[in-house]
């Protein structure tokens, strides 16, 4: 079980989301708490169990109430834990702190939190704890740490305990005084900050606070103040933001004896703290002194020499921050020069670690000067005035430096020599010459086969050099030459070379170095003898040439010449193998040439190259693409060609950085997106059924409008015959027309305006004939939905489902394929009005109805069937039902309430006849010539009658 817990806890800590996908936070928390209460579990495991609560309290306690409950549980575990398990008890305190802080129990001052705070304060004052065991961290120290963290997360929490904490700190002689000192300093800082926010506060308040004599009224004020912070981050931040920042101040006048004595006592004992705690203490006290102008910064003076000579990075750092806060009120000009020298020394000290040295180098570029020129501030790197080229030369980079160090030094010296060059106008700077030589030395290492890291370092250094000195023609030209030479020797550096050109072009807009460099690359590639090219070299060259071809100002004749020489039929040509990747490389260049502004002058040679590829290249795919390009080139006007091809480069362009096999095709991606059909991720629109059809209405009009000169066979049989004769004409009344509206689904605004929509339907069964495609000219969001008429030709008039898809064009000219939600065709949708011969009036129809009814009721008919359905419907409801559902199919008069006669014609030649007799219950007598329709009819009738019941009653 123990093993299991270790694994589970580790799984949770590595990926809480994955772990919780197998269980719930609630269940896991419950399990943890149960195990924590279990007496059989060992305390080693219990310590482990606390770690999820310490590290991810918000995941396990998603709400304040769960946090509160969990905290109460943990407190009871703490209560029951024997005192000897100090480690476990310490971890419990940490877990409780984490849970209470991270759920809002602290800010809401919940009950559990109040109890915990009381407990911590009690522990902090309990000096009778494990005196003897020095190795174990005592519970008291952890309690102090928890109090400090609570104060840090909820500033001002302990302001009223300042005097108590000061006393505890002073009385403590064991190593624990460090914990009290940290707590005391933080609470002091927060309390003073609180006073600075109170307009009326002054020396008296400060004195009262330090002496613990806060009046009750003021306590209440403090308490309420805690919650009413406008910006909680203000008090959490470090308050001294350099010489340009403003610090909130507390006006006390010169007399702050009490505060001074607290400060000097803390500072005197700072020597006894570990360097980390000393640094933190100094930092806090710096803030306090900065906030109280009544206390002179000179209180720190006694510590300065000790701090300036220190080998500890955090102590020297806090001294720099001290300088930043108090500038010349604490540090003389000599001090400043000394500190700067120290930083230079430390930035290259052989005994320090690389990260420390880098940190000091960074400090040099953000040096807190006593009198800074301008307010560069804000993260910008700037050189301190005192950092002379001579001083900085100690930090000259060498090829032996690690990458980060080398680059940091290169950057620093570039800044130094840039300034020097600006001051000594016209004079050739030796420093700059050194930097260039260093760059050249790096380049030689790369040329001699330096590893990947050296390569990356070199290109970064080259970019830095260009970004500072792109105006120094001589070196830039020379760099271009050396880079070209390097590239020819190591063509696999193409991605780096291209990246350098890209970035210089992007970031150094004022420089045309990148274009010149690309032009030079084109030159050296074009001059390379094609016979000696390896396949690898060639594909890198093509990559580079493709980039060169993106520059409109670079003439592309030599590129085309190069292409024709490598594609020219020759047994030694690398193209002879018909390599697909290589072919893509070739096409990539061609594609860019197709949109190059100087295309007109390239037309014929480029067409030749493409034709060569079309005819001779050994790969079908490449031949096809080449043919396409050839066709585009020879048939499209320039504008159109640019239109088709340009889109891709604008969209994908150079941003396509991934170099996987599938992305090679990104070369022609733009074209592909213009010419191929994309597929949408989700449905874009759907068909919804339109309101009942107009056909029926005309029918009812006819019916109601008793036609006087109607002619119809008098006999039912004759009527039947005449009616049936119509069906001899092929295709007679074989269709049902369904009306739909095409409407947008919610979603992507790219698809707001759609054009040339072609809907395609496919069947899911064989009850219907195949459907033709339907075209819709446009679908615009916010405009009336276009109507879509589906003409279904049933083989058997059963309900069915249609699968629908569509191809359409968006406003940007891309074509899309999308799948629509399925279209369900209900049974009732297959109903058509009786296709009675024209001219028949009500009489003829009734005759036909009777004839059909009689025929179907006769028993010998094979497929015919009759049926009866009864249901409870009030008269009004029945009339409503008939009006709502049957009106287009009604044979009898609506006013004839004795019996409604309804006839559904279902193409191709099925009929369902209904005689509905009102009463209690209502009788639905059914007759049909297709008994298989009965089950659909039944469910249809049940649906409509039951819905009528609900609405009717």
């Amino acid at each position: 079980m123990e093993e299991n817990w270790a694994e589970r806890i580790s799984a949770f800590s590595h990926s809480p989301s994955r772990f919780l996908s197998g269980t719930t936070a609630e269940a896991f928390l419950a399990e943890l708490l149960r195990e924590l209460r279990d007496d059989r579990a060992s305390y080693c495991v219990k310590v482990l169990l606390l770690s999820p609560l310490c590290e991810h309290p918000t995941l396990l306690c998603p709400s304040d109430s769960v946090g509160e409950e969990t905290a109460l549980e943990l407190m009871s575990v703490l209560d029951q834990c024997p005192p000897k398990f100090v480690q476990f008890r310490c971890h419990l305190l940490l877990a409780l702190t984490a849970v209470l802080v991270c759920t809002s129990c602290v800010s809401l001052r919940s009950r559990a939190f109040q109890d915990f705070l009381d407990l911590l304060l009690q522990m902090a004052q309990d000096t009778g704890d494990l005196q003897g065991d020095g190795a174990l961290r005592s519970l008291r120290a952890t309690a102090c740490d928890c109090l400090r963290e609570l104060e840090a997360c909820s500033p001002g929490l302990l302001s009223q305990r300042l005097e108590l904490l000061g006393g505890l700190r002073q009385r403590e002689t064991s190593r624990l005084h460090q914990a009290y000192a940290g707590l005391h300093a933080l609470v002091l800082r927060n309390a003073v900050y609180r006073l600075t926010q109170d307009a009326g506060a002054g020396a008296e308040h400060l004195k009262a606070l330090l002496g613990g004599h806060t009046s009750v009224a003021w306590e209440a004020e403090l308490d309420s103040g805690l919650m009413s912070d406008k910006d909680p981050s203000a008090i959490l931040s470090y308050l001294v933001l350099g010489p340009m920042g403003t610090v909130p101040t507390l006006q006390t006048g010169p007399d702050c004896k009490e505060l001074r004595s607290v400060l000097s006592s803390l500072l005197e004992e700072s020597y006894l703290l570990t360097p980390l705690c000393q640094a933190a203490l100094l930092h806090r006290l710096t803030e306090v002194v900065a906030m109280v102008p009544g206390v002179p910064p000179a209180v720190f003076r006694a510590q300065l020499l000790r701090l300036l000579g220190t080998s500890e990075v955090c102590l020297l750092h806090s001294t720099l921050l001290l300088k930043c806060a108090f500038t010349d009120s604490l540090f003389s000009a000599e001090d400043e020069a000394f500190i700067l020298q120290r930083l230079v020394v430390l930035s290259q000290h052989p005994l320090l670690s690389a990260p420390e040295k880098l940190f000091y180098t960074d400090c040099l570029l953000h040096f807190p000067e006593n009198r800074p020129i301008g307010c560069g501030g804000d993260g910008d790197e700037s050189l301190p005035v005192l950092l002379t080229p001579r001083l900085a030369s100690a930090l000259a980079p060498t090829v032996f430096n690690d990458s980060a160090t080398g680059l940091a030094r290169f950057n620093l010296l570039s800044l130094v020599y840039l300034e020097e060059a600006e001051e000594g106008e016209g004079e050739e700077s030796r420093g700059l010459a050194y930097l260039y030589q260093h760059l050249a030395a790096l380049l030689r290492v790369v040329a001699n086969g330096g590893n990947r890291q050296v390569v990356v370092t070199f290109f970064r250094a080259a970019f830095l050099f260009l970004s500072y000195f792109c105006h120094v023609e001589r070196y830039c030209r020379s760099l271009t030459e050396e880079l070209c030479e390097l590239y020819l020797r190591h063509t696999h550096l193409a991605p780096h070379v291209i990246n350098l050109a890209d970035q210089v072009q992007d970031k150094l807009a004022e420089s045309d170095w990148a274009v010149g460099f690309l032009r030079a690359l084109q030159g050296v590639i074009a001059e390379a003898p094609p016979a000696r090219l390896t396949l690898r070299d060639l594909s890198w060259h093509l990559k580079t040439l493709a980039r060169v071809a993106e520059e409109g100002e670079i003439p592309q004749h030599s590129t085309v010449r190069f292409l024709s020489s490598v594609t020219a039929p020759s047994p030694s040509s690398p193209c002879a193998g018909g390599d697909w990747r290589l072919g893509n490389g070739l096409l990539g260049v061609c594609r860019r040439l197709l949109v190059h502004p100087s295309l007109d002058s390239l037309l014929i040679p480029l067409a030749d190259v493409l034709q060569h590829l079309t005819r001779r290249y050994g790969d079908t795919d490449i031949r096809d693409h080449a043919r396409l390009y050839y066709t585009l080139l020879t048939t499209l006007s320039r504008e159109k060609l640019a239109g088709v091809l340009a889109r891709g480069s604008a969209e994908g362009g150079r941003q396509v950085k991934k170099r996987s096999l599938s992305c090679i095709m990104a070369e022609s991606e733009g074209l592909a997106s213009a010419l191929t059909i994309h597929q949408t991720e989700k449905s874009i629109f759907r068909l919804i059924e339109a309101r009942s059809e107009p056909q029926g209405e005309t029918q009812t009009d006819e019916v109601s409008d008793l036609n006087l000169n109607e002619t119809f066979p008098a006999e039912a049989n004759a009527a039947l015959e005449e009616y049936r004769a119509q069906f001899d004409v092929p295709g007679f009344a074989s269709e049902v027309t369904l009306n739909y509206q095409l409407t947008h689904l919610d979603g992507d605004s790219r698809f707001d305006q759609l054009f040339s929509i072609r809907l395609h339907f496919s069947l899911t069964d064989d009850h219907y004939e195949e459907l033709g495609d339907v075209s819709v000219p446009r679908l615009l969001r916010g405009r009336p939905s276009p109507e879509v008429r589906l003409r279904l030709k049933p083989r058997r008039p059963y309900p069915t489902t249609l699968h629908a898809s569509a191809v359409f064009t968006t406003q940007d000219g891309l074509s899309w394929f999308t799948v629509l939600p399925h279209v369900h065709v209900a049974f009732r949708q297959a109903f058509a009005p009786l296709p009675a011969p024209p001219g028949w009036g009500l009489g003829g129809r009734l005759g036909l109805f009777q004839g059909l009814w009689d025929e179907m009721s006769a028993e010998e008919q094979d497929d015919c069937a009759t049926s009866l359905l009864c249901c409870q419907l009030k008269e009004v409801a029945l009339t409503a039902l008939v009006e709502k559902h049957f009106l287009p199919y009604l044979m009898s008069d609506l006013t004839d309430e004795e019996e409604f006669k309804v006839l559904f014609f279902l193409p191709p030649r099925s009929h369902v006849l209904l005689k509905i007799r009102p009463g209690d219950p209502v009788h639905f007598s059914v007759a049909t010539d297709n008994w298989q329709l009965l089950r659909h009819l039944n469910s249809y009738l049940l649906t409509i009658t039951s819905s009528q019941e609900h609405t009717g009653l």
Binding site: V47, G132, P232, S233, P355, E356, H496
Partner: protein, 491 residues
């Protein structure tokens, strides 16, 4: 002044990566969230942190030659603080991630930014950064053990006790101390109650005989080119390591460094935090400043109250007028062989009594050595097993003339190619010297036994020692191009 999370990972040049330990500090994260407001970026789960970290350190996808995210030339890492570009729902940049590596072990942490997040504050304004660096360095020393090299078992056992170590040194994300390297060897007793406060960096009190051990070690580095146009470089730095077993809560000890009458002043002095006070003149001399003849040249007094464990009391650098061994190295290509000619000269001020002295002559970008026909005037010549390195053992003494030579020819006709190096191509080659001279310093600096003062009741035993050793001591072939560009630049 706290860290949000801590990671310890191990990897072999980016391969076989595993997370060995992680810790997130929820309350610090809570503060980070309210500090950063809308620009808050949460710490992603360990696996994505791992991936991002390796990419940022240039270690991911080691099989791929160019990966834009990793190798873009614009992206200069303002180390030591890395940026992790978090993708997905919690998109943003996690900064400043501190990372330090030693061999296969990488430690990283994310300090809190206790300043307005926009615009990004300079690293130098965040105390949490130097605190994080100190914590990481302390943990690294602890994990690597006394040997300074990670052995798997030791590492695993130390990782196992890391949770209880962190409870002591960084319970809630605020670093309080660095872990101690094992319990102090001397017997300690618990603190008696008294009026004197116990330093937080002292775990107990020493009881027993008082012994003070002061060891002075100087290291000399050099780059010699044997070329008039190029100045040879060398520098010396010294460290004073103490181990003090002295009774008392806050005993006072003073160590004094002295220089010979015309010795050049000690520069760039850095002291341990247990040093109680410093005279300002001790700190003034600096290696990067104009050397001032009137500068203070000792005696250098360091009053301190020692911790229980051994510690580095101070360090300094010194400018000595000559290198201890001046060498010249000449290679000439002759048909299929190299003609070698070496002279090493021991300066007269250096004691001619070495613990060891060896000259290594590696050869790169060539085949293995075939026939080695070289004569040395003193000492012994060996060819390494791999046949790409000549090792010239000079023994304990130079001959009376204080000069040794090597002459001869080497043919590179071995069956397999030797190692490659991008710097040492063609005739660019070097000799690297390894030597140690006991009981001497180049600067002449020494700690006199009698100058060590201990203010306590019992008379302590005082042991002092000194030694000189070489590090990065190169003599470049003067017929080839040495890889330092130009100018009077430092190493």
């Amino acid at each position: 002044m706290s860290v949000r999370a801590l990671w310890i990972i191990s990897h072999e040049k980016g391969e076989n990566v595993s997370i060995r330990f992680t810790r997130r500090f929820a309350t610090v994260e809570h503060r980070a969230k309210s500090l950063a407001g809308s620009s808050y970026v949460a710490v992603p789960e360990d696996y994505s942190v791992l991936h991002l970290l390796l990419t940022e350190m240039g270690l991911s996808d080691s099989d791929k030659y160019y990966v834009a995210l990793r190798d873009d030339c614009l992206h200069r890492q303002r180390s030591p603080a890395l940026e992790l570009r978090v993708d997905g729902p919690g998109k943003g940049i996690l900064w400043p991630v501190l990372a330090i590596s030693h061999g296969p072990l990488t430690l990283a942490c994310l300090p809190i930014v206790d300043a307005p997040a926009e615009p990004r504050p300079p690293l130098a304004s965040l105390l949490s950064v130097s605190q994080g660096l100190t914590l990481l360095a302390g943990l690294q020393t602890f994990l690597l053990g006394s040997g300074g090299k990670p052995d798997n078992e030791g590492l695993a056992s130390r990782l196992a006790i890391l949770p209880s170590v962190l409870l002591q040194v960084c319970p809630l994300g605020t670093p309080l101390d660095v872990p101690l390297l094992g319990a102090p060897a001397t017997s300690t007793v618990p603190t008696p109650a008294g009026s004197q406060k116990q330093p937080a960096w002292k775990t107990g009190l020493h009881r027993g005989r008082a012994v003070v051990n002061v060891a002075l070690k100087e290291t000399v580095r050099s780059m010699q080119y044997g070329d008039r146009s190029r100045q040879d470089l060398w520098d010396v730095y010294g460290t004073v390591t103490c181990k003090c077993e002295v009774e008392g809560m806050l005993p006072n000890v003073t160590v004094t460094l002295t220089l010979p009458p015309n010795g050049s002043p000690l520069q760039d002095i850095l002291v341990h935090p247990c040093v109680t006070s410093l005279d300002s003149c001790i700190l003034t001399a600096s290696s990067v400043d104009n050397c001032d003849g009137s500068a203070f040249s000792g005696p250098y007094k360091f009053p301190f109250s020692p911790p229980l464990e051994p510690f580095r009391l101070c360090s300094y650098t010194s400018q000595v007028p000559v290198p201890p061994i001046l060498g010249s190295y000449q290679l000439r290509e002759e048909e299929n062989q190299l003609r070698v000619s070496v002279t090493l000269k021991l300066h007269e001020s250096v004691k001619n009594s070495f613990e060891y002295c060896e000259a290594h002559l590696p050869f790169f970008n060539r085949d293995q050595m075939g026939v080695v026909d070289v004569k040395v005037s003193s000492g012994q010549m060996d060819v390494s097993k791999e046949k790409n390195l000549l090792v010239w053992g000079l023994g304990q003494k130079f001959p009376k003339s204080r000069e040794v030579t090597m002459e001869g020819k080497i043919s590179f006709s071995g069956p397999t190619p030797g190692p490659t190096d991008p710097i040492c191509t063609e005739l660019t080659a070097y000799i690297k010297l390894y030597f140690k001279v006991p009981d001497m310093t180049l600067s002449g600096c020494c700690v006199d036994q009698h100058s060590v003062q201990v203010y306590s009741s019992a008379k302590p035993r005082i042991i002092t020692s000194r030694e000189l050793q070489s590090k990065e001591y190169f003599i470049w072939n003067s017929t080839g191009t040495a890889p330092v560009s130009s100018g009077p630049m430092m190493l």
